[in-house]
Amino acid sequence: MDLKLLNADPTTEERAAIDTAIVSLSSVGADGVFAKRHLLLPALEAAQGRVGWISEGAFNYICETLQVPPAEAYGVMTFYALLTAAPRAPRVVHVCEDIACKARGSDALINELKRSAGPPAHYVPAADHVLVGDDDVAWLPSPCLGLCDQAPAAFVQIAGEHPIEELFGDVTIDRLRAAMGGTLSLARAPRRRLPQAGGSSLRLLRRVDVVDPTSLDAYRAAGGYEALRRAFEIGPEAVVRDVTDSKLMGRGGAAFPTGRKWEAVAKQTVRPHYLICNADESEPGTFKDRVIMENDPFALIESMTIAAYATGCEYGYIYLRGEYPLANERLSNAIVRARARGLLGADIMGSGFSFDLEIRKGAGAYICGEETAIFNSIEGFRGEPRNKPPFPVQSGVFRKPTAINNVETLVNVLDIVRFGGPAFAKIGTDASTGTKLFCLSGHVAVPGVYEVPFGATLRDLIDLAGGVPDGRAIRAILLGGAAGVFVGPQDLDMPLTFEGVRASQATLGSGVIMVFDDTVELLPMLQRIAAFFRDESCGQCVPCRVGTVRQEEALARIAAGKRRGGIANEISLLDEIGLAMKDASICGLGQTAYSALESAIHRLGLLGEQTGR
């Protein structure tokens, strides 16, 4: 292609970083128009990681090397919150401003930063390429970092030849100052153990904080790779049958039967088939997949190998959110070790089956957890959801049949294969089988991931997490994440099963249980949820692109006491906006952007209180 490029060159350092990124990623299966394009996001991330922003020279070099038209590459680069086209300091601290952290004091941290370190680095005045903030360090507010059990949280990136990235929990002003100053050792809080670590009833979490996550031998000694061995014994059809018999439902939020998905992919005659593990985990309040990936990475690699075997996938991707550096490190290590022992690659365990996989890092976009947006993101296009049909099982990544599953869904497959589908189906309830991971955060004594068989009630889970501290009363509980619903103390006996929450018009979503006690002001939480959806909308369709703005504005008017035509009018306007987003948006983001607000208003009567003020 004859590309018109910018008149700018990369530095030697930028060029080397980009070259390394491109070479290190295999391009299995990607052919034709996709052959180079799929390297675009990794190349942009490499340039960003080297100097802390993407210069015109680095950008130019990427476009030329990968033969991507600059206007298209620019559209991709500006889609992601972790990439920036304006000069920026090499060290950046992202401070979580999302709801779980807000409930645990992040506003104070952010106010302190505004006071002492100036404005956040996202505002670039017009076309001037000026460095915002100090020379070496900049800060940004961040959406949920997936560390809500250790709220408040922060994420630090330090650009360089060996870029450093780290997540920090239990952040205090002093730890934040240490992170801003680059002394990361002083920014670390003591590590927290899994609350249920070593518990005999655990299935998905049984190895967490018990087995060394970096050692393949330790994993095997703890029963690792027995499931894959059994899968090879019984054959792919029997694996799919077991998964179908287990009645396993997807844990990523949409609760789709996994067996049906796998069967559909296995049947496709078009080749190759791809497997994607959705590890984008960005739903506010969700951190269960991180806990698995950081602490039991081999389990994910083994279950993906089984999934690939069952569905006939030649190649797999783990699409991992960009803010999970430890998960990235642990998974990368697991992949290398598994490959070295013939557990990935050609002829795995002498079975004749070949499969390999790689990690693709996201770059700050919640929407890239939507399954079709992931395809576009991997292919090197903007992470905009696609119109369905066609469905992923027919036409997914690189327009080939694709099986895509959540991390927790996949890890369930190990026990299903080891003990058989019918045995798995006996755990839990009739319609919700197996165990479920719940992410408890906010005002509970011991926040963290908890595993229980389906059937436990909301009250059981909150009790498991030690209840609400200081004997305070519960004001509200957010179930399922920002895309979920608020319920109240009257709902504590709701069984947390798919059928149980449905009967109460709630949702399990991604397993979020965020508790707010009676000291919390809920309106600012709703405003933050609205701001989140506005920030994370891909902008493709009108109902979501503009609806999320109008919804946030209505809440701002209510909060400022500047209601247009009174509170009832504002509420009916919100309802009208919400209905259009739900009915006419392309994807789940817009369709659920009013869900939590609607439940706070109509279920908890939140804005009713506002009228009295």
Binding site: C63, A71, A127, S537, V542, V546, R564, A584
Partner: protein, 317 residues
């Protein structure tokens, strides 16, 4: 190039129900096709026969029995036994809201049909409050994904911003842009393969942009003007039309449209010349013309400007 080829196998007929009436439609055609063939009026904005459907504006949504959400009629294919409602309460509500969302954030003054639709669907864009002041030049071009300034309780956000005039042939008034993606498709794989523009940013800050928002003369633009031809809102406009509209002398009642064959090369593209007071103001090509599908090159689209300008310049030269 014609973007959408007709199905090759002889198409079969599909029976479906539209607003309670049984109709037949060709297999592979869309609900919109079926509606139009049966004289049902469906508003569309991002749809154009000659481009791949992107189904982003959502004004064409209809209700399909059994579907949890509404579906875009411009992209959804007909299926046997489908029961479609084109004017239900839900459909009317979403259309009204889409129109209000656009009308309250974008200048739709040069978008055809909008005034009628607003009346038909009972839109009231003022209920979102008075509009904020236009953004300073280039501010929207540099918005960082994932962040925005907190909303202003006294004003509604809009995409208002100064027009971009960086060449003598056409202007880009993104205050009128509804982000329908048509220009990007026309400039890219659907027609032109120049890829001079793309969608940048995300959410409400999403925008049509060149790389790093460079001016058009620095971009890959070849001034074919095919983006202007497909733009439904007048955000992209030939310079003479923009100038005439700006000084209030644009008057369609005084204009004639004359078809001619482009004189520049042997392809034989049909040119429609829009003339007011003996002055050519723009050149288009009919979308249903087989040679062009509405597309031209810089010579056909803008060549007359040079001719005209030279002639006008002569006396003073």
């Amino acid at each position: 190039m014609i973007a959408i080829l007709p199905p090759t196998a002889p198409a079969r007929m599909v029976e479906l129900e539209i607003d309670g009436v049984e109709v037949g439609a060709l297999e592979g055609s869309t609900i919109l096709d079926a509606c139009r063939a049966n004289a049902k009026q469906i508003p569309t904005l991002c749809f154009l026969d000659t481009l791949h459907p992107v189904n982003v504006c959502r004004i064409c949504v209809v209700e399909v029995e059994g579907s949890r959400v509404l579906v875009p009629s411009c992209a959804r294919k007909v299926e046997p036994g489908m029961k479609v409602r084109t004017d239900s309460e839900r459909v009317r509500h979403s259309r009204k809201m889409v129109l209000e969302f656009l009308d309250s954030s974008v200048d739709l003054s040069t978008t055809p049909d909008v005034a009628d639709w607003k009346t038909a669907y009972g839109c009231d864009s003022e209920r979102y409050g008075p509009p904020a002041l236009p953004a300073p030049a280039a501010e929207r071009d540099h918005a960082h994904a994932g962040h925005h300034e907190p909303p202003d309780p006294d004003h509604r956000a809009t995409v208002a911003q100064p027009v971009k005039i960086d060449n003598s042939l056409y202007v880009r008034a993104y205050a009128k842009c509804i982000l329908c993606y048509k220009c990007v498709e026309a400039c890219g794989t659907d027609f032109q393969n120049s890829f001079a523009i793309g969608v940048a940013g995300r959410g409400f800050a999403a925008r049509i942009s060149t790389e790093f928002a460079v001016e058009l003369p620095q971009s890959a633009c070849v001034y074919c003007g095919n983006c202007i031809a497909v733009c439904p809102t007048g955000a992209l406009m030939a310079k003479p039309e923009w100038d005439k509209r700006s000084d209030g002398t644009w008057d369609e009642s005084r204009q004639t449209q004359t078809d001619t064959i482009c004189p520049y090369c042997g392809v034989g593209c049909t040119l429609t010349l829009h003339v007011q007071d003996n002055e050519i103001l723009k050149a288009t090509s009919p979308f249903d013309q087989t040679v062009t599908s509405g597309n031209l090159c810089i010579k056909g689209r803008f060549g007359w400007q040079y001719v005209q300008n030279r002639r006008e310049d002569e006396p003073s030269a």
